[in-house]
């Protein structure tokens, strides 16, 4: 047995040491000021792209606002943004519910994406104006609004997204209260004044902490419920009901789950860059990447599961309806986008993330996350572009008799998509100038609850689990 014997010292590294609470506050608050030249250049670049995107959106609306078949890419973009910006804050919530300690330091970065939900809303505005009414040519199309008033899809989806934005910001704010107090106490200039105003007299009494925890739990639950609901409404009203005969009960959940996948990927990307360029290695441990990697891996498998569950039922069904749906969504003109999505959303990330070594590092993880986002965009394109390509006069038929021609993106579509995505990155980056990118009090709490110990002769971490 001697050949297998190795000294344990080489295998076991002591966990990273804890950082003092006052140092956490000082260092994290300092990250909000003094942006590097590279940061500024990126912000400018993204800002210009965002403005170009918004301008393109306005021009497209004026130019093509009367033709719904030309808006598939914008719908795909809204779906993409709803997934990424809407899904990322869930990264902050789900493990918190499971009382995982590793997630504490990174909840802030995920919840910064809540602000980016405003982009989803902006991009939705022209779609709401263009979305065909429930009754066209005297016939009512199939929707979930059986007897409801004609404006229902327009108004409820918009409301759901507004609610999502508000709840997301409330979730962010209720968790950021102690950090505003830290800014009030340790920052300077307008940040100090902002902190003073927003901290609302936070001093950290027992009662304040209790309320804080309750609020986070409450808004987190609301956020989750509204997110699922928003996904449900958007996929049915702005997707399924645009195509006669497309009846896919799993689609809302498919959309939600792939949204979580994209949200986690977005979170990993944000985490990677802030860790690397803001020098936060001592606060963001590799443990967080490892855990996120496992989560991402599970969600990647869920994607293929949900996809297959839907696909196999259509494939077996073989009714004209089923065949049309498959041709429209998968086998028809969009087949390459579909294959791209399949490879980038499932095969590549699955093959990357299955390795423990990858999940313990950062570089390949972030590459995998980018791959997932590209895959998600392709997936949304293959769903929403053909859905919006169906001419308005066929929308209320029993099933799709003619598969519409592929609509290729024009220059406006490309600008809008680039602009929308840039705007999300822009907003998240700008928010890191306002509040610390990691939650000060949660990093402190993380350090309080977990400490490296020596267990007899081995190294371990002792993680306290308060109720």
């Amino acid at each position: 047995m001697a050949s297998q014997a190795v000294a344990h010292e080489s295998e076991h590294h002591a966990p990273p040491p804890n950082v003092d609470a006052d140092m956490v506050a000082r260092e994290l608050i300092a990250t909000t000021t003094g942006a590097s030249g590279r940061f500024k250049a990126w912000v400018w670049g993204l800002g210009i792209l965002s403005i170009a995107g918004i301008v393109a959106l306005v021009i497209k609306f004026i130019d093509q606002g009367d033709d719904s078949t030309k808006w598939g890419y914008v719908a795909a973009l809204v779906s993409f943004l709803l997934s990424v910006a809407g899904g990322a804050p869930m990264v902050a919530m789900a493990p918190v519910m499971a009382k995982a300690n590793w997630v504490r330091p990174i909840t802030r970065i995920a919840s910064l994406f809540s602000f980016a939900s405003v982009v989803t809303l902006v991009m939705l505005i022209p779609l709401v104006a263009i979305l065909p009414p429930l009754v066209t040519e005297g016939a009512r199309r199939r929707t979930i609004w059986y007897e409801a008033p004609d404006y229902s899809p327009h108004i409820w989806t918009t409301l759901a997204l507004v609610m999502l934005l508000i709840t997301g910001i409330m979730l962010f704010y209720s968790a950021a209260l102690p950090d505003f107090a830290s800014m009030r106490d340790h920052s300077t200039g307008w940040r100090k004044r902002l902190g003073k105003r927003l901290a609302r007299g936070w001093v950290g009494t027992d009662a304040q902490w209790r309320t804080l925890r309750m609020r986070i739990g409450m808004f987190g639950t609301f956020y989750f419920l509204i997110l699922v609901f928003a996904n449900f409404l958007f996929t049915t009203d702005f997707g399924q009901s645009m195509v006669p005969g497309w009846r896919d009960a799993i689609l809302p959940m498919y959309h939600t789950v792939s949204g979580f996948q994209a949200g986690v990927a977005g979170g990993v990307i944000a985490l990677y860059f802030s860790r690397k360029y803001m020098k936060l290695e001592k606060f963001i441990h590799l443990d967080a990447f490892w855990s996120l990697g496992r989560l991402l891996f599970a969600l990647t498998l869920l994607w293929i599961y949900f996809f297959y569950s839907s696909f196999i039922v259509f494939w077996y069904g073989r009714s004209e309806n089923d065949i049309a749906t498959l041709n429209h969504q998968i086998k028809g003109p969009m087949i390459w986008a579909f294959f791209g999505a399949m490879i980038l959303l499932w095969f590549v990330p699955w093959w990357i993330l299955i390795w423990n070594k990858v999940r313990r590092g950062t570089t390949v993880m972030v590459m995998g996350s980018f791959v997932i986002l590209v895959g998600l965009m392709l997936d949304r394109i293959r769903m929403f572009v053909p859905a919006w390509s169906v001419p308005g006069d066929q929308i209320h038929e029993k099933w799709l008799k003619v598969i519409p021609e592929t609509y290729w993106p024009d220059i406006f579509d490309i600008l809008i998509m680039a602009g929308g995505i840039s705007l999300v990155a822009f907003i998240v980056m700008m928010m890191t100038r306002v509040v610390p990118v990691l939650s000060v009090w949660q990093v402190q709490e993380f350090n309080l609850l977990s400490k490296p110990i020596k267990y007899i002769r081995g190294h371990a971490t002792l993680v306290a689990k308060p109720d």
């Binding site: 076991h12 590294h13 002591a14 966990p15 499971a98 199939r142 929707t143 979930i144 059986y146 699922v228 449900f232 049915t236 399924q240 009846r247 896919d248 009960a249 799993i250 689609l251 809302p252 959940m253 496992r294 498998l301 599961y305 949900f306 569950s309 839907s310 196999i312 039922v313 259509f314 077996y316 069904g317 073989r318 009714s319 089923d322 313990r360 309080l448 609850l449 977990s450 490296p452 110990i453 267990y455 081995g458 190294h459 371990a460 971490t461 002792l462 993680v463 306290a464 689990k465 308060p466 109720d467």
Partner: protein, 459 residues
């Protein structure tokens, strides 16, 4: 909150091995009574095979009735094991420890029971061999793998084999323990079964790493099994209410709901019967109930989607089916009972910590859930077939016959019988996991508060 309690290992051994080392007084009478019920069931099954399916209430157009419902029900229950054992192992949930073995066991025995139903339902069970086993080489006739009815046995036997092996691997350290506590033929049996377990670091490491690896492998199987069961129905486009893309995850989450509830039922019984108050504690029920709230609400969302998208197409037959399912006697009564028992009564109750930590209430609510979940399967399977459609001229209202009910009752007696038999020879609570939790938990003082803490290995 995990209440930490120092438990001596000798005490742990004595208490948790009380089923094997000395027989509780109630054991023999209970097993005997169950044995009689099982025997009656076997006789009834044999009679049915002899006389043919005419002794059941099954007739055109309702060919799938109580048997298939009960089959789906038991497959659903079997999802408890891997859900609890694998997911909680992977997420390192500390409270899983006393639950895992019982949950895995429930998986194995309920799958064994589930398998019986399609077999006897085929009327001539021996003929099933022709269509599921690719053995007829001389005539070149092979199974039709395009049929979900072939995928189903493949998936279930995969799951059964996997969970049995999983159960055995996790049993090894406890078999070693039993070997150390017994003499005579029992000692010889445990010596062989424990394969010479000693408890060195290599063996423990394999338990940990292997347990995680097996969990990760079993999880995708667990999801596939009930999905494939659901495709037995969903790929049939001719029956209204069945052809829905949501069936796979809907069945899986429903299965988890009923399976975890069954684990709660079982844990309460274990605590009462073997007096394991020190090991199966209110906080375990609390944690399970919290999990159940989430699962049940997820399940409700899927139920909502299933219904919404059934009506979405606004096809007249589909609407008529749903109307029958929900508003026509006797289906409406079943539907109301289903909804009340599967969600409306238990879940609001579980919102209160007082209920979650009350073992009697948890026991009864978990039984309610399984009444509801059985009815759910019944309401999915039967009304779609029973609705009177054009061009079907022979129809009868489906009424399960006494034979079907007897076999239905037999299945419960059979699972319980197997469980009790198992408990005579093997511990129902994993001892080593229990002791491991003693090693891996410690109290830390944060200020003046004593907080339970867990030792996580550094990597």
């Amino acid at each position: 909150m995990q209440q930490r309690r120092e438990l001596d290992q000798v005490y742990t051994n004595r208490k948790l091995l009380n089923g094997q080392l000395d027989t509780p007084k109630w054991w023999l009478p209970t097993v005997s009574i169950l044995g009689v019920v099982v025997l009656i069931g076997v006789v009834v099954i044999a009679t049915m095979v002899n006389k043919g399916l005419g002794v059941t209430g099954l007739a055109r157009p309702v060919y799938w009735g109580l048997f298939i419902t009960t089959f789906v029900f038991w497959v659903g229950i079997s999802h408890a094991g891997i859900m609890i054992s694998a997911i909680l192992r992977l997420t390192q949930a500390e409270w899983r420890r006393p639950v895992t073995r019982a949950a895995e066991l429930l998986t194995v025995f309920s799958l064994l029971t589930a398998l019986v139903f399609p077999l006897i339902h085929a009327g001539r069970p021996w003929r099933i061999a022709y269509w599921i086993m690719p053995y007829d080489i001389s005539r070149g006739i092979y199974p039709n793998i395009r049929s979900p009815l072939i995928m189903d046995p493949v998936a279930i036997s995969t799951y059964l084999t996997g969970s049995t092996l999983f159960l055995y691997i996790a049993l090894l350290p406890d078999l070693g323990n039993l070997r150390d506590r017994t003499t005579g033929w029992k000692n010889a049996m445990y010596t062989v079964l424990s394969l010479g377990w000693r408890g060195n670091p290599r063996q423990w490491k394999m338990q940990t790493v292997g347990g995680i690896l097996l969990s990760a492998l079993m999880l995708p199987i667990f999801v596939s099994v009930h999905s494939i069961v659901s495709w037995d129905f969903a790929v049939a486009s001719a029956v209204e209410g069945w052809h829905s893309t949501i069936f796979a995850p809907y069945f899986v989450i429903g299965a988890v709901h009923s399976g975890v509830s069954a684990v709660v039922t079982m844990m309460a019984l274990m605590r009462w019967l073997w007096k394991w108050d020190d090991f199966i504690r209110p906080e375990h029920f609390d944690a399970l109930a919290r999990l159940l709230i989430v699962v049940a609400t997820g399940w409700l969302a899927f139920t909502f989607l299933e219904l919404t998208f059934a009506l979405y197409g606004q096809d007249a037959p589909e609407i008529a089916l749903r109307e029958m399912q929900m508003f026509q006697w006797p289906w409406n009564a079943l539907f109301i009972i289903f909804f009340l028992t599967a969600y409306a009564i238990p879940v609001p109750m579980w919102l209160f910590k007082r209920v979650r930590t009350n073992i009697a209430l948890m026991f009864w609510t978990s039984i309610l859930v399984n009444i509801g979940m059985w009815l759910e399967r019944f309401l999915i399977i039967v009304p779609g077939l029973a609705r009177r459609t054009p061009f079907v001229y022979t129809w009868e209202a489906y009424r399960p016959s006494p034979v079907e009910w007897t076999i239905f009752i037999w299945s419960f007696a059979w699972v319980t019988f197997l469980m009790l038999l198992f408990s005579k020879f093997f511990p129902l609570v994993p001892l080593f996991e229990q002791k491991e939790s003693q090693v891996f938990t410690e109290d830390v003082m944060i200020g003046r508060a004593k907080i339970p803490a867990i030792v996580r290995e550094a990597d």
